[in-house]
Amino acid sequence: VTLAVGDRVMTNARNPPRHTRLPRYLRAKPGTIEAVHAVFPLADEHAAGRTLLEQLYTVAFAAADIWDIDAEPNCVIHAELWESYLVHS
């Protein structure tokens, strides 16, 4: 576990030619670690028949950081994301 609750993170901007569980609308976005879960098989690797265990977090994103001025007010998007999607900022 390298990230803690309250840490500010950026999601990566990758566009991999394979399965990933980082939704397109959450790429290269700023968020905050809201919960630290356990280690789970990274879905990206699992889809290719491999097992790679990785730390899972809940990351909170302000809707305005995702949809800009089109966001509804006072909305937060929480996503369960794996460690390799995130960079400490």
């Binding site: 399965h19 939704p23 919960a35 789970f40 098989p41 879905a43 089109d70 509804e72 937060v76 929480h78």
Partner: protein
Amino acid sequence: LSTADNEHVHDHDQPGEPGHGGATSAALSTRVNALVAGLERRGLTSETEIAATLERFLAGAGPNNGARLVARAWMDAGFKSLLLADANAAITQSGLDLSHWAPVKIRAVENTADVHNIVVCTLCSCYPIGLLGPSPGWYKSEAYRSRVVREPRAVLREFGCVFRPTSRSAFGIARRNCATLSSRADPPAAPAGPKHNLRNSSRATPSSAFPFYNDARGT
């Protein structure tokens, strides 16, 4: 195999995939039947075995399970704390046996006067079938999955849920191996102000909805 038709064609974030909302149930049935026929031809499983697995799994799966947890949390403050802190432990303590379900972490969150939670699996259709029964069609539709993260209040309004503009909406995105269970803060007997004007008192989403198709199985 009708349940399998509905429940599982996972991971529609691949290019060219029609997604839950794009494919008709007839088209999905055709695909599932072809898949089952292929598996049978190779001697990997049989229609009978699949039907038995589904029957076993769905036997104890229903919305009454989730409702029981929420109702108990309303009446028992200790249980409510446990449910919010460690939902898996609370579920086990309630005597619900979800061991036939894949290893999954359930997370419970509480709706309050100021926060309303709504759960969506934007990439596929993860749902806690063991706690709520098979998921409704709208939950799996592309319209719900794509719209609710962008205009949650507009979508909720269409469900008949209206909130004060100052209410904060929190969105949990269902992700495999992690799930969210939302519950209303108060029992329905409490005075029903606008803040409690919610149709869906419990909503949960799991990581691995379906053991037969669960790609996390065995890991």
